[in-house]
Amino acid sequence: MDSGAAFLRKEELSQPLGDEDVGYIFSLPILPEFLTGYEFLKFYMDINLDKIDPTKTIDDYFAIIKFGQEDRHRLIKGYSHGMKNKIQMLCFIITRPPVILLDEPLTSFDVIVALEIKKLLREMKQDHIIIFSTHILQLAADLCDELVILNHGLLQAIPADTLHSPAFEEQIIGLLSDGSDD
């Protein structure tokens, strides 16, 4: 099987997944560097006016991701990797797509930012479907409710009780190296 379709199920209703329903967060965030964080968010909110919660202001949103006052008005060109990623995540906190995809989150962050983003992801878990790829088993064990492994081009689901067992890592390594001994 190498084709298919994705559907979003709300209660009993299944709808095909559209572009608007998915938010993608790049591991290497690319943002327009000539804008300040504040300007970029203002622009983003103007464009997506119909999708956002009108009661929150830009500064409220900045507070959610703990973004300093002076940093909001600096050019994105001078932002660190972690700051740019926070801005990316903020974009999806604003427009709230039901599904959020992350590519290798938390790689190359410093400790503080990594923990903040992990906390953020845990909060967002309640209202969004978050799918991310990672090679850090610890992160998967910490955050995930379900886990699949991609090995030699095949997807394998991992039962939920393995996910929270102490021998989790050993079992995963066993599963991954099974195929490579042939």
Binding site: P32, F34, Y38, E39, E70, L75, K77
Partner: protein
């Protein structure tokens, strides 16, 4: 001695292996023939040894041929072509003169060997850990010997072709080798004492090349060389050069710390080692946003609070990229001013030329096609737009929606039209004033025609450059131009300009054609943008 031979053979092994592999790699990329070689050929040692022998022979042959070509094309050729009426003795003088300037002076600066950033040096010394002094001594000996060897035949041949004794040709090759040894030693000494690597001072290098070439070929005009044979081959001078050459050779051989010299030119990020990357970085730097220019108050300012969405985005972009707009505009206005002043001076100095100016201009209106193409600031603006704004924003779904693209395009188009019209107006005003002041016969119709031509062409090129950018999306992330269609269409437009200059047209017809073409092109362009930009405007 044994060490040197061993080092030399290692170096030659590395070079021949790289050369052979490179040959195999490029051969495999030939469409059909390439399939004849399988991937495991890289492991076939016997075959590669045969290849490397072939490559070696080719290299030696190439060494001789390149020296023949160098002297033949750059030195002997020009002499024969321009001064064939002169007696052969004079031609020989001119030949020697050019040799002096090109090989002794220019090449001494542009073709340094010791202090040259070279990939081979990096591989052997930095990666393979060959001791730097062994490497340098081996390669320098090889280089010196092959230099002399490769130059002997061509020098002797060309000397005899120009009626001079063959020994003079051989002596010239010997003197050249000695002289270049001296300059190499000087380069090395300069590095040892002052830490300067002359080969990296590109300003100096290019000035010497420029002046040297100029002085080399100047006598061909004056038909008189600046030196004579007797001076060059006089025994004292020859002896001095040879002795100094030997001394320089000893200095080079005894030089104690080659490691530093090699380090200085093989840094990992040495720009000259990777010319492609150097050019990419300079292109990007050309259009980048400069961070330090903006103060905190400026960045917080609410001058754009009133605008929304794409108007907001573009307003901020244009305000923060003044170097893409203001600087080019200023430069162009200065050029217009300069031409205006030249025009005024011509009018004052020679009224007859200026009275011919008006009819000349009127019958050569197509010239404006070329002029207005380069007046338009669209090209650099589009590159800046791509690199600083669109490259990042095109990753977001909302930016790629058709309504967004069209809205964005319209805002940018109007801004560009405004800017280009300003320049066009300046040109028109300058041109008209020149016409009025020149005192030539002019008709109101002529002036109107010129105004319409210039303004229409400015409009045309504003649309043209943005249209090219949106439909062909030619810029890769390195700002090289990847889409061949882009280059082709641009060339067609310029070609039309050149071709139509050949036809001396009546101004009225030309203006009508321009007007019509502008309108039609704009309508087609806008229609194509409307239909296709949603698919073409993305990051490749």
């Amino acid at each position: 001695m044994a060490v040197m031979i061993r080092t030399l053979s290692s170096i030659l092994d590395i070079r021949s292996a790289s050369g052979t592999n490179r040959f195999i790699y490029y051969f495999k990329r030939i469409p059909m023939l390439g399939k004849l070689l399988k991937d495991d050929i890289y492991a076939n040692a016997v075959l590669k040894r045969t290849f490397s022998v072939i490559v070696f022979i080719l290299k030696v042959l190439w060494g001789f041929m390149s020296k023949f070509a160098y002297i033949g094309i750059l030195i002997y050729g020009p002499v024969i072509l321009t001064s064939s009426e002169l007696p052969i003795k004079e031609q020989y003088q001119l030949y020697l003169h050019i040799v002096l300037f090109l090989s002794f002076i220019v090449a001494a600066v542009s073709n340094v060997f010791i202090m040259e950033p070279k990939r081979d040096k990096y591989i052997c010394v930095k990666l393979m850990r060959l001791p730097a002094s062994d490497y340098m001594r081996a390669t320098l000996t090889l280089q010196g010997l092959t230099f002399l060897l490769y130059f002997l035949p061509p020098m002797m041949v060309f000397a005899s072709l120009l009626g001079a004794p063959v020994w003079q040709g051989a002596m010239l090759a010997l003197l050249l080798t000695a002289w270049r040894t001296i300059t190499e030693a000087l380069n090395l000494w300069l590095f040892a004492k002052k830490g300067i690597v002359l080969a990296k001072k590109l300003n100096w290098v290019w000035s010497v090349i420029g002046v040297g070439f100029l002085l080399a070929y100047l006598p061909l005009y004056l038909e008189e060389a600046l030196i004579s044979t007797t001076q060059l081959f006089s025994v004292p001078l020859t002896l001095v050069i040879l002795v100094l050459g030997i001394a320089a050779g000893i200095y080079i051989a005894r030089y104690p710390d080659y490691r530093e010299a090699v380090d200085a030119v093989t840094k990992r990020d040495e720009p000259l080692l990777d010319v492609g990357r150097m050019m990419k970085e300079s292109r990007v730097k050309n259009v980048q946003t400069i961070e330090q220019d903006y103060t905190a108050e400026h960045l917080r300012s609410s001058q754009w609070e009133g605008k929304k969405g794409y108007a907001y985005l573009n307003a901020i972009f244009f305000s923060r990229h003044k170097r893409l707009i203001i600087q080019p505009m200023q430069r162009r206005l200065v050029i217009v001013l300069v031409f205006f002043l030249i025009g005024i001076i011509t009018i004052l100095v020679s009224p007859e030329t200026s009275s011919k100016g008006v009819p000349y201009l009127m019958s050569n209106l197509p010239i404006f096609l070329i002029i207005m193409n380069y007046t338009s600031i669209g090209e650099r603006l589009c590159r800046g737009l791509f690199n600083n704004c669109d490259l990042s924003l095109l990753r977001y779904g909302f930016y790629r929606k058709r309504a967004a693209i069209l809205h964005n395009f319209t805002i940018r188009l109007f801004k560009l039209i405004r800017l280009n019209l300003l320049l066009a107006a300046a040109i028109s005003v300058a041109g008209t004033s020149l016409i009025l002041l020149s005192g030539a016969d002019w008709a109101l119709a002529d002036v109107i025609i010129i105004w319409i031509t210039i303004l229409c062409l400015s409009l045309f090129f504003s649309v043209h450059h943005l249209f090219m950018y949106y439909i062909f999306q030619p810029y890769s992330t390195e700002l090289g131009v990847k889409n061949p269609l882009f280059t082709i269409v641009n060339s067609i437009v310029l070609a039309i300009g050149f071709v139509s200059i050949q036809f001396q047209s009546t101004p009225v017809y030309f203006v009508l054609i321009v007007l019509l073409a502008t309108l039609v092109y704009m309508i087609i362009a806008l229609f194509l943008i409307y239909k296709f930009s949603a698919t073409t405007f993305r990051v490749k």
